[in-house]
Amino acid sequence: MTSPHTSEMIALKDVRFSYADRSILKGVNLTIKKGEIVAIMGGSGGGKTTLLGLISGRLKPQSGSVIVDGLDVPKLNKSNLYGLRRKIGMLFQFGALFTDLSVFDNIAFPYREQTNLPEDIIRSLVLLKLEAVGLRGAKDLKPAELSGGMARRVALARAVALDPAVMLYDEPFTGLDPISVGIIGRLIKRLNRALGMTSVIVTHDLNETLRLVDRVVVLSDGKIHRDMAPEQIRTTDDPFIRQFADGLPDGPVPFHYPGPDYLSEILGR
């Protein structure tokens, strides 16, 4: 469905979104080209997960447009939205594996639901994906028997099962040991190269991210504040980026959730 003259995979124009009366995104403009790997960074609660929800059509913006693969996402009806989602993979922040299914059946799920492939071919495909994430030996385990890092890798294998054109990763590195971080990072890069995928990675892990991505986008106060290449990030003295790179608790990205003044609240006003 992509028109040939454009290489844009994802385009957000002046997107605004709020939960009840709490404004989360206040006019986001972001264009991501086909095959690009883009990192989205920003403070906790800044609306990064929300942004992924908007791209995948799980949330609808109050205003602005969200175009993915040439389709106007918020305007799609259910069957067209599902058509688009067959081309989008999503790695959830907490894995979201089906707890009543084994590792094998979790990965087989998209094949069984979306294709008419015979069971022996599905078996080969599932084993292939499991091999890629290094967990072929764990195929009979239940999600409850996996460690956090293993669960994330299974979830990744399930998300890429149908070779999506777009992959959305919600904090793929959080809470993982350095080895798992490295494994997942390499997997993301390899999938991107092999399948020409477009990837959006929400992350806090600047070091791992810089090795992977083509661009880093910083979301702050509901807007895109910075949009730079990895090399620029390493050298910039932008206080915003330095706060992330050096792990400073407070700075331009506030550590505190908005609230009344601390002193007056503690003293009972």
Binding site: S56, R58, K78, Y82, G83, R85, R86, I88, M90, F92, F94, A96, L97, F98, T99, F109, P110, E113, Q114
Partner: protein
């Protein structure tokens, strides 16, 4: 005083509107579920699996309860009937009570406690852990893949379980009446055969079960689907399923009984 009164009416008004809101939500949900049924019915294997989980696992509790209820009915019924010298009508009395009333109603109450509460917890937890969201992201509709099969399973299981309850109850009454008290075996069965009407009694009982299955099934999936994604949220949704299902079954039973047996005597 005035302000207290105002506050009372405010609370009352809030209570009423929140209930109506929830009823509206339930109606909308039922509509969406109805649309999802079409897709789900073609996936019979999913329904069979849920019938197994809900139905087969309730089987033993339903059979044992039926046996005990039948025995108690026999003891109570015999005590009254023998005063009028018609102890051999025991089979009829017990069978009618079971098929028309106790079979469908007690089965529905047991089902709400045993199976529906589990369905609510399961769906609530799947939602809280984003399993339903993940499914939705894979272009698989959770309503037709997860919710509808569980709803349909309740409708299918309920009449089958009620029939098992009633059968176990009749056997229980036979054990007490014929084996222990010594009522004539032939009279027990022949009177039952002669006086239990297929259309009036059996079909009406079946209809009740289907209605109860629909109500209990809908309540359990609704409460699970809209449970707050927390431990307390799921716990209270599970409790609500049992309470609301039980009350609905008793209320529906009253309405259905009045409609079915009005004009008969």
């Amino acid at each position: 005083m005035i302000s207290q009164l105002a506050e009372f009416f405010q609370d009352l008004g809030h209570f009423v509107t929140s209930r109506i809101d929830r009823l509206g939500l339930a109606a909308r949900f039922a509509g969406l579920l109805l649309l999802a049924l079409g897709v789900s019915i073609r996936r019979a294997s999913l329904i069979v699996r849920e019938v197994y989980f809900s139905g087969v696992r309730s089987l033993s509790i339903v059979a044992v309860s039926g046996l005990f209820v039948g025995m108690v009915l026999a003891v109570q019924g015999y005590e009254v009937l023998q005063r009028y010298g018609s102890a051999e009508s025991l089979g009829v009395i017990v069978a009618l009570s079971l098929v028309r009333e106790l079979g469908p109603v007690v089965t529905a109450l047991l089902f709400a406690g045993r199976a529906s509460s589990a369905v609510t917890a399961e769906i609530g937890l799947m939602r809280a852990t984003e399993q339903l969201a993940a499914m939705d992201m894979m272009a698989v509709d959770p309503l037709s893949r997860v919710v509808a099969p569980r709803f349909l399973a309740a409708i299918v299981s309920m009449p089958l379980l009620a029939a098992i309850f009633s059968t176990a109850g009749v056997i229980g009454a036979w054990i007490i009446g014929v084996q222990l008290i010594g009522i004539d075996d032939g009279a027990f069965w022949s009177q039952m055969q002669a006086n239990v009407d297929v259309r009036i009694d059996v079909l009406n009982g079946l209809l009740k079960s289907i209605v109860f299955g629909t109500a209990v099934g809908l309540i359990s999936v609704f409460e699970g689907y809209f449970a707050a994604p927390t431990a307390e949220g799921i716990a209270s949704a599970t409790t609500r399923t049992v309470v609301i299902s039980s009350l609905s079954v008793l209320l529906l039973d009253l309405v259905l009984t009045v409609m079915m047996f009005r004009g008969l005597s």
